[in-house]
């Protein structure tokens, strides 16, 4: 078994990234309102780790994910993936980048095209990147589905998203991210739309994938408890600013910023249960 090779190697470097939006509704006002989504944000993610980004809705955490995925442009700063600046990626280089970075979306009900079967959904990335022959493609698809916990994979080939339950859809979305064997995966609140017991199983699945495939994860969540469960290091983001970052235990045990402390205070306490139940 390979131990962590070069644990300090940086896979993603976000440096002083700045992103603003124009408030569309006030476009015709004299002074158009500008909303700062990300205010000179910097962070570094090491190869092989799980990095958590914790923040409320509207804090800019999803915006950051979209920038890293190159779904949107940003004004200033730089994002380097494997030492390559992604800002000006085009054509072939962009395609190569797309192959390495994948997304696990938030809403399993909206992230699969209702008109494509599961097989076709998983086939699409392969045919875009011209990977494998017909037979090997089928094999890759089966492997991904099984890795995502959809067993037996062939049963799901002909199904359409609306024929699956929420948990199954999220697994299919994970399988799609897996077909390209990415180095880096961004999970954007992957369980916020799912019921508690199902979302717990999705977490376990992600941990399993992370361990077996040696993928680096950027895990985005509003839930500190989930971040604690899953992440090696976390950063807390509040209104476009990273207010705190460090190893998970350190941030939770010894929060430095007021916002983090408020977040921790807002968690359910169960003071009644603590005394009677052993930890």
């Amino acid at each position: 078994m390979e131990t962590k090779s070069r644990p300090t190697e940086t896979i993603l470097n976000v440096d002083q990234v700045h992103k603003t939006y124009q408030d569309v509704r006030s476009l015709f006002r004299k002074s158009a309102l500008t909303i700062t989504a990300l205010n000179r944000v910097s962070l570094e993610i090491k190869r092989g780790e799980v990095f958590g980004l914790v923040g409320a809705s509207g804090s800019g955490k999803t915006t950051l994910a979209r920038l890293v995925l190159k779904l949107e442009e940003f004004e200033a700063g730089s994002i380097r993936f494997n030492e390559t600046e992604i800002r000006n990626l085009k054509g072939k280089d962009l395609k190569a980048f797309r192959r390495k970075v994948q997304l696990i979306p938030q809403d399993p009900y909206q992230s699969l095209n209702p008109y494509l079967s599961i097989h076709d959904t998983l086939l699409e990335p392969l045919s875009i990147h011209k990977i494998g022959s017909r037979d090997t493609r089928t094999k890759i698809i089966s492997q991904s589905l099984e890795a995502a916990g959809l067993n037996p994979a062939e049963d799901f080939f002909t199904r359409y998203p609306h024929q699956l339950s929420g948990g199954q859809r999220q697994r299919a979305a994970i399988a799609r991210a897996l077909v390209l064997k990415p180095e880096f995966m961004i999970a954007d609140e992957p369980t916020s739309m799912l019921d508690a017991s199902i979302s717990f199983n999705i977490f376990r699945l992600l941990i399993k994938i992370q361990k077996s495939q040696k993928v680096t994860f950027l895990f985005i969540t509003h839930d500190l408890a989930a971040a604690r469960f899953f992440c090696d290091r976390i950063a807390v983001i509040y209104q476009g600013d990273i207010v705190e970052s460090g190893t998970t235990e350190k941030v939770i045990q010894d929060p430095k910023s007021e916002y983090t402390r408020a977040l921790i205070r807002a968690q359910p306490k169960f003071s009644f249960a603590k005394t009677t139940r052993p930890t």
């Binding site: 509704r25 015709f28 006002r29």
Partner: protein
């Protein structure tokens, strides 16, 4: 955005659109096969008069100069002389435009009000017999072929039953009689207007009622209706105070969107009932190759539609606080 700012912005947009229509028409008239001079100058005119008109309209100039002349003439209200009437076009339009506005706006307002209030009621009785009957009736009304139903009305009400004038807007003998006061005259116009009004409204009521009905059904499944129910409000109050105002918004939008289509119907109605409006004038001018009149009528019809659109937009902003803030 405040209401005033909204009006300003929309007016600006409308000016731009109108300018584009104005220019588009010019190039259409001057680039279409055939001689633009013969289009704008009455063939029966004396050569001297014709020459005067040609230089006045700049028809002997190159295209871009002609275009500037055209813009200038539009601004000064000079549209040339109607071939048929032998009078300045702007005079003819000035007489016709108020008649069109009277008939058109009355029918749109009446049918919108009727459509909204009936649609509201019908939606309340969804699935009941009333609903089915009214829905299908509105469907039929909405799809009736307008000129035909106009002919039918003339045949039935004016010819078979009688009591309604066959055509026109006024009875000349009544108006030439010095004894008849303004009230009698107004009644006379109303008498002439009833059938055209009925024709136009029947088509529109059906449309607006159907929109209101489905909009109402959608609104009734909104969460705030549940809130209103939970508050213990009576069904009538829910319908009139909460569902109704929200549901009528799409009707207002739709009135605006279909205005251009409605004016088609207006022109047809005017033609069949020989109502002396601008739409009939356009159709008449086109049939008789009276180009100056046709051009000007079209421009003024566009202005009517654009202004009506502005009014609808303002009304919408007034009804929906989310638009203005």
């Amino acid at each position: 955005m405040t209401l005033r700012r909204l009006i300003l912005r929309r007016s600006l947009e409308i000016l731009v659109i109108f300018f584009l229509i104005l220019s588009g028409l010019f190039f259409l008239f001057h680039l279409a096969p055939g001689d633009p001079v013969s289009r704008m100058v009455d063939p029966s005119m004396s050569p001297e008069d014709a020459e005067l008109l040609v230089s006045q309209l700049g028809l002997d100039q190159p295209l871009w100069l002609r275009y500037l002349y055209y813009l200038k003439n539009f601004c000064t209200g000079d549209f040339g002389i109607s071939f048929h009437y032998g009078r300045p076009v702007v005079e003819v339009i000035g007489e016709r435009l108020p008649n069109t506005i009277l008939l058109f706006t009355t029918s749109i307002i009446l049918s919108a009000l009727a459509g909204i209030s009936w649609g509201k009621l019908v939606a309340w009785y969804k699935g009941k017999r009333v609903d089915t009957v009214v829905t299908i009736t509105s469907l039929v009304c909405h799809t009736l072929f307008l000129p035909w139903i106009a002919l039918l009305f003339i045949w039935v009400f004016a010819y078979k039953i009688g009591g309604f004038p066959l055509n026109g807007m006024i009875s000349p003998e009544l108006w030439s009689d010095p004894a008849s006061g303004w009230f009698v005259k107004a009644l006379d116009i109303l008498h002439h207007m009833l059938l055209p009004l009925l024709t136009l409204s029947i088509i529109h009521v059906g449309e607006y009622l159907l929109i209101m009905r489905s909009s109402m059904l959608e609104t009734l499944s909104e969460d705030y209706i549940l809130t209103a129910r939970a508050k213990g409000l009576s069904e009538k109050r829910i319908r009139n105070r909460h569902a109704g105002p929200n549901a009528s918004l799409p009707v207002v939008t739709n009135v605006g969107l279909s205005l251009a289509f409605s004016i088609n119907g207006g022109a047809l109605t005017e033609t069949v009932f020989t109502w002396p409006g601008i739409g009939r004038e356009l159709i008449f001018a086109v049939s008789n190759n009276d180009y100056p009149l046709a051009l000007a009528s079209f421009l003024f019809i566009s202005i009517v539609v654009l202004v009506a659109n502005l009014v609808v937009d303002v009304l919408y902003a007034y009804l929906d606080p989310r638009i203005r803030y």
